[in-house]
Symmetry: D2
Subunit: 195 residues, 4 copies
């Protein structure tokens, strides 16, 4: 039973709400165990059991929340020298407030989150354009959940964004299921014509 | 008299309109000659006289329009081995349509445009948050001008975006003026205490 | 039989050589048909049959070769409005010359290439750290093949880089095989507990 | 007297050494006061007096050290809602170890550091290609100081990199001097032909 683990940091609860919406979407895929947890609550062992990992962060000053970065450095970093996470599934989402109508740095934030998982050899699942809700915060790297108007007035996670997050969670979960199917056929794996 | 040259590629005229709005803002700064031209119309010599360069592009598939890239490779690239452009002023803007509410790749597009000028040693002017219109397409790297709703229905450059573009143009022009002032005092330049 | 198609642009033949080395690695995976072609030779239909797509480019002025960008805009862009490429496999490599010992913009170039495939919903395969040859141009996003010394003197694709490219090609091909295995079990796909 | 402040986080002392080399280069420019300090030692008031700011970080998992990110979020972030830092000068450098010959994520790390200063409206100074030592870690965004071989064996900051850092420091300091010159001529500033 593939496990999808969503890790997040949250200041005001918006990113937690977004993590929950994504987890619900992942959980609806048959055969998947979907969980979420804060970045400061997880150890190396908690992550080691995840078949898929989703990293979610508010955008702060154009990049990830420093508590997410601490998690990346101190927990994910411990996997760097090994191959445990190689080929597992990775995805991202971010949230944002503040002023401005152009994403506020969401893209570079998503790329840094993806990059941390690429460092571990994980396969990266982008956000498909036909995911319901894409017009509400859809970017090809992942969902961007605005929790404020463009002038900076805060509001909860919009329902359309919940759909988008759930759809992304389902796609990530499905990729984890697919991987578990393929791994049942080891004869087809890493085979070499020259062998 | 510092020259500000805005270079753009445009499919439907939106990016040309945005280039014009930015140029008008630059032109309002005293002592500045502001121009704009399409990427396919310029030679190395046209660029060599620009004290400030602004690169504007539609976002296509998450990066700059291929005609802008051709200009970067074939025209700007010719400056790479020399120091002619070193210390001159650079800025960017991008336009976008399509589906999605998270910038559609505008950030990576702006970074590639900035990067081409960084390769020449040019000083990069970001978009200040207090520029009027920032809430309509403001990103710290430059203006992102949506010319479509989030579901993809096309519309002209919004007036608020014109203000934002003009303000960015004025800031870039002012940086070019400042540089020309500083260069009138060569005794203060590249001086070395050890000399 | 999954098809792995490597698309590249090449100025002096180095990127073509690198594309060939990657293709050879992909071709060694059992059940894979691996091909390579220049960006200016391919149509929409040629790409539509690829189960995995690898994009390779020289780094020019900190981003992809303008001929690759033209291919991305005019050929890959035609897939944007549909879902044909969704879930297929994508990977990248880049080559570089010039002066400088820090990649010369290879990372942003790889990210723009990855981004074009993310726009199509393709799953992105990074370069695993334990791939043989990683110390010769290994970056987590893909191989960076230096074809010049750090002072800019040109040389052929180093053999260690060929190993790295071949290993990356094999990993991409294996991901395409895995996907084809998983797709033989439609009952496990897109299933929904609530259904 | 313009102040150039270099802020860094360091695990083993390499990044501190690099910060010192850059500071020495800045200090050689006449009329400049150059300092350096660790990210965890600085308050909002310490930063507020800096005419130029240099951010330096090790590359960890493809992005900046979490202690630098904490500084960006908690100290620099306090400037976000105001205009105090607008138009001041910014520059970056990064250090790296680990395995791999393609920068290990140095570019995205530099871009996130630049981005934090772009959020404050600061003008960004890239690394000019003709800076002595450019072939030893030169990237257009800033110096990348390898403190390990490509297979990961640690070594001190190379002397060629010290030259590169010093040259970058001098260029940043000179930009701060130029700005202070230009600001002595307020009649030429923010003037408007329509006025």
């Amino acid at each position: 039973m593939p496990t999808v683990l969503t890790v997040y940091a949250s200041d005001y609860g918006h990113t937690r709400d977004a993590a929950m919406a994504l987890t619900e979407g992942a959980d609806r895929v048959r055969g998947v165990d979907a969980r979420h947890a804060t970045a400061d609550s997880l150890t190396h062992d908690d992550v080691a059991v995840a078949d898929a990992l989703v990293l979610g962060s508010p955008v702060h000053m154009g990049s990830m929340h420093w508590e997410m970065k601490r998690f990346v450095d101190l927990v994910l970093g411990r996997f760097w020298s090994g191959a445990v996470m190689r080929g597992r599934i990775g995805g991202v989402f971010v949230t944002g407030g503040g002023v401005g109508g152009a994403g506020g740095g969401c893209e570079l934030t998503m790329l840094s989150l993806h990059g941390a998982m690429a460092e571990l050899g994980m396969h990266l699942i982008p956000l498909a354009r036909d995911t319901p809700g894409f017009e509400h915060g859809g970017l090809h790297w992942g969902p961007y959940v605005r929790c404020a108007t463009s002038t900076g007035a805060a509001h909860p996670v919009p329902n359309e964004c919940r759909d988008l997050l759930a759809g992304h969670g389902a796609a990530i979960a499905q990729a984890a299921v697919d991987r578990s199917i393929a791994r049942r056929f080891p004869a087809l794996h890493l085979s070499d014509r020259s062998a």
